[in-house]
Each structure stands twice: as structure tokens, then as C-alpha cells.
Amino acid sequence: MLEVNKVNVIFNPGTIHEKHALKDIDFVLNDGDFVTIIGSNGAGKSTLFNALSGSVEVSSGMIKNDGQIITYLKDYKRARFIGRLFQDPFQGTAPNLSIIQNLGLAYSRGKKQSLALAISRKDRQYFYDILKRLGLGLEQRMDTPVRLLSGGQRQALTLLMATIVTPSLLLLDEHTAALDPKTSIQIMELTEKIVKENNITTMMITHDIEDAFKYGNKTFVMNNGKIVFVLEGESRKSMKIEDVMKLYSTYNIALSDVNVLKQ
């Protein structure tokens, strides 16, 4: 269970560049919840993820994951139970290491660093199997440096890396936005499959309103540092694009996403 209690993030406090990027964010997620997050540029979506994963320090408030208060836990320590994917496929992998070495690093998450060989024969077989299940043929290229992979292949690999040790929270920040439509669908389906199989609590930022309602069981609408609307259950199921537009205009949300939709 993830509990977020009155979290505020203020960048450059007390200067002319002061930016109150998150304002009293408050929500609770149950295990297995899959939340999609929409909102215009600069709404604070990525900042929320940064606060949850520890790459940005919160100014006030509390974050609790599975009963443990993690508000001030270092980012790399939180990474033991929080998996994360970014929009940029280059951010999630080490380009000069091979596919199998990247997986090996991810697989050792939360285990002790040691002078044992990073990848045992058993690991190799295991990585082969899970790569094969991915269905992208990557199992034939395990020793290829990741820099030679396409964006979609990298993102699929990153997804595998983020979930190879099942995280208790998975944060997806527009992780399909840089991919072509076909690959994007492929990665989304893969995401849903992995998340469902392992019952991972997931939060996904997207600018694709259709995806926002197609996947997951809850939707947060963010604007100007706040969660202005939470949609779930029946009201969420019956949401139409027009309703979203109406919602946006009620809250004076910039229409960027809606424009994307019309195309």
C-alpha cells in the first residue's frame, strides 16, 4: 500500500525562481492499483514521480510504502522496491553494456554487492527465458551492447529490468511517448501483462487520453501542482473524450492533451 500525505515540493524556495510544483498531494493506493495520470505540461506529474522515487526531496509531507516511511530515504535505496521508466529510452539502460549485463545489474537489485561473477550460468539461462517470452528476438542478441538496440527494444528491456525483481511500485513516465504507434501499443500491452501477472501497484503518466482510460483502474487529473480529479469505478468507465474536455475546461487546464486527441 502506498500512502502519500500532504506532500509539497517547492523548488528554489525564497528566490525569484521559487516554484511550488506539488501542493498538498494526498492519496492512497492499494496493492495492485493501476493509476493513470493525465494533465497538461508543467502540471507536476514528473515531479510527483521524482518525489516518490526520491530524486527530488519533498519540502513537507509524508510518503509511506508498505508501512515503511520513505519520505527521506535515498533514491538508490528506494530503487529496491520502486521501479521506474522514463520517456527517453536512453535513460533506462547502460548503452555500452550488453543486454545480459544490463539485466544482470537489474537482477542484483537489493542484493549485496560482491566479488562474485555478475552473471552465473543459471542467470544466463533465466535471462534467456524471460527475453524469449518478450517475443522480440532479443534472446538471440544477449551479448549485443544495448546502444545498438532500437528505442522500442530498449524500452522493452527497461521494462523487463524494472520488473525482473518484482517492485512494490512501478512508475511509468510517458514511457511509450517516444515510440512509433505500433511499438507503443506493443510496449503498452507488455506493460499491462507484466503488471497484471505480478499484481504490481503501478502509476502511469500519459498524454494519450485514450490510453489513460483504457488501462488501469483509476485516473488522476493533475493541474498546477494538484490532483484536481480522481476518476474510478463506474464514473471512470463511462468517461468519454468530450467529458474529459469538459473537465479540463472546468479547471482551466491547458488544452494540449485534448488537441492531441483530435488529430
Binding site: Y76, G83, R84, Q91, G92, A94, P95, R109, L117, A118
Partner: protein
């Protein structure tokens, strides 16, 4: 060049290759410039020399390695914990080491122990080629092979892989729950451990050493790395490490040859610096030339 100077050049190359192998970790794997080197080289030299003087050559090597790695760890801590830029962190440690090195050498600018036991004593006079003793060289080859093998193994361990990834994509490493600060500190420590090892062997090889020998050591070593990579390449780690060792030997032989042809040895550092500048400039030169060609063709085409 006579055979004896060639053997001498190779031996020196095999000593300084250890220094270059150390630099490889900071410069190539972590992509962090480490300027501690000029200081930690003298630290290794001082510790090893002083202990050899007191008839403890092996202990000297061991303590030198420990001393060097401590120096590297200090640089790593300055860089990661106090957020000082890597270059400045290295310069700070190096400057502080000036004093520490002098203290280790009992305020004397040189250390000498001619005729005393060194790590080479046992190996002297065992193997000859054309009447020239190559035993020292053989010992140095064995040491180099051992170090390269250990490095290859290490870089494939869990820590080693984390180290490589840290130089590659820090964000990814942190999101794999690895403390990148720790990796950088380990990297600086290993680099300077090898630097000090190289110096510790160097001083026992010469049975004397001076306090000033560290000046410019970093650039000297970078030059030999660049030469090696140009000759042999850096496709795989093994290949890269072999390139570094051979580059170091080639560089030493080239220097020995130039000095024999009458080049004053005072030019050594000037040449090393020029080689590094040239190697960095070469790719730019290529693109400048290509742009020039494009423009010329463009004008002609009109």
C-alpha cells in the same frame, strides 16, 4: 639501439603500464579525470622506497598500494560527498600529498638503497638472452599478466559491472539500487592503488627515487594509453588492457630511441603533452577537413 637499452625500455614500459592500467579505471570506465595521480605516484614511491631501505621490500609494495588507495578514496570522498568537481578534488588531494610524501621521506628529496634487497633481488641473474639479464623483465611480464587477468575478472563481478555502468549511465545504476557514490570512491581507490603499485615497483627497480618524479606522470601515462589504443584498439576490455600495456612499452621504446638520437631528456614532458593534445585534436581535425571539402565541392558544384 643496443639490445640492453631495448630491454631497459621494455622493462620501464612494463612498470608504467601498471600506472596506465590504473588510469584506465578512472578515465575510461568511470569517465572521471583523476589528477590525484601525480601525488599518489610519489606516495607509492616514498612508502616503497623507505620500507625497502629498511629491508622490507615486499611490505613496502603492500603498504604503497594501501597508501595509494587511501589517497584515491580521499579524492573520491571529496568528489562525491562534498560535491567538489573531480578535477579539483584530485588537485586538492595531490597538493596535500606533497606534504605527506615529504613526511614519509623524512623531509629528504630522494630515497636511495643501492645494494639492498628489493623484489627483484630474487629474480636477478636467472634468465639470460645474449648475455643480457632478462629476469627482471620476466617478473614484470608476470606481474602485468596477473594484473590484467585480475582486472578482467573484477570488471565482470557484481561490483565491477556496477562500476562500468556507473560510468555509462548513472541514472540507470541508481535505479538499480546501486550507490553510485560508493562505486566512484572504489574506482578512485583502485586507480590510485595501481598508480602507487607502479611507483613502488619503479623505485625498487631503480633502487632510488626522487620526490619530483611524479610531476606530469598523468599526462605521460595518458599519452601511452592513446598510443596503445591507436595501435591495437579498444573493442573489448581485454583488447583495451593489452593495448594499454603494449602502448606503454612502445612509448618507452620511442622515448629511449629519441633520447639516444640526441633529443635532450628535458623534452620528455613537452612531447607527452603534445601527443595527448594531438590525439584529442585529431578527430576534430578530421571533421574540419571534411567540412572544408564539403564547402569546396559545394562551391565547385555551383
Amino acid at each position: 639501439m643496443s639490445l640492453i637499452t631495448i630491454v631497459g625500455g621494455i622493462e620501464l614500459g612494463l612498470i608504467f603500464s601498471i600506472l596506465s592500467l590504473g588510469l584506465y579505471i578512472a578515465f575510461r570506465i568511470l569517465d572521471l579525470p583523476d589528477l590525484t595521480v601525480d601525488g599518489s605516484f610519489v606516495t607509492g614511491l616514498a612508502i616503497s622506497g623507505v620500507l625497502a631501505q629498511q629491508n622490507h621490500p615486499y611490505l613496502g609494495i603492500l603498504m604503497a598500494v594501501i597508501g595509494g588507495s587511501l589517497a584515491g578514496i580521499v579524492t573520491g570522498l571529496l568528489h562525491t560527498k562534498l560535491k567538489i568537481q573531480a578535477i579539483l578534488a584530485g588537485i586538492l588531494t595531490m597538493t596535500a600529498l606533497y606534504s605527506i610524501n615529504l613526511i614519509i621521506m623524512d623531509e629528504k628529496p630522494t630515497v636511495m638503497f643501492f645494494g639492498q634487497k628489493t623484489i627483484f633481488s630474487f629474480f636477478t641473474g636467472m634468465f639470460f638472452v645474449n648475455g643480457i639479464d632478462i629476469s627482471k623483465g620476466l617478473l614484470l611480464i608476470i606481474i602485468n599478466i596477473l594484473i590484467v587477468a585480475l582486472m578482467i575478472y573484477f570488471l565482470n563481478t557484481k561490483i565491477g559491472l556496477s562500476l562500468r555502468a556507473t560510468g555509462d549511465n548513472e541514472v540507470m545504476v541508481r535505479s538499480s539500487s546501486i550507490n553510485t557514490d560508493m562505486m566512484k570512491i572504489i574506482g578512485f581507490g583502485l586507480t590510485n592503488a595501481l598508480v602507487a603499485l607502479s611507483a613502488a615497483i619503479y623505485v625498487q627497480y631503480n633502487q632510488q627515487g626522487s620526490y619530483t618524479v611524479g610531476n606530469g606522470m598523468l599526462v605521460l601515462s595518458l599519452a601511452s594509453i592513446i598510443i596503445g589504443e591507436a595501435l591495437i584498439g579498444n573493442k573489448t576490455i581485454l583488447r583495451n588492457l593489452i593495448a594499454i600495456v603494449l602502448g606503454s612499452i612502445v612509448y618507452r621504446l620511442a622515448l629511449t630511441y629519441s633520447f639516444q638520437m640526441g633529443l635532450p631528456s628535458s623534452y620528455l614532458k613537452l612531447f607527452s603533452a603534445l601527443i595527448v593534445v594531438f590525439a584529442i585534436f585529431l578527430p576534430q581535425l578530421k571533421s574540419i577537413y571534411q567540412n572544408y571539402r564539403k564547402r569546396v565541392n559545394h562551391v565547385r558544384g555551383q
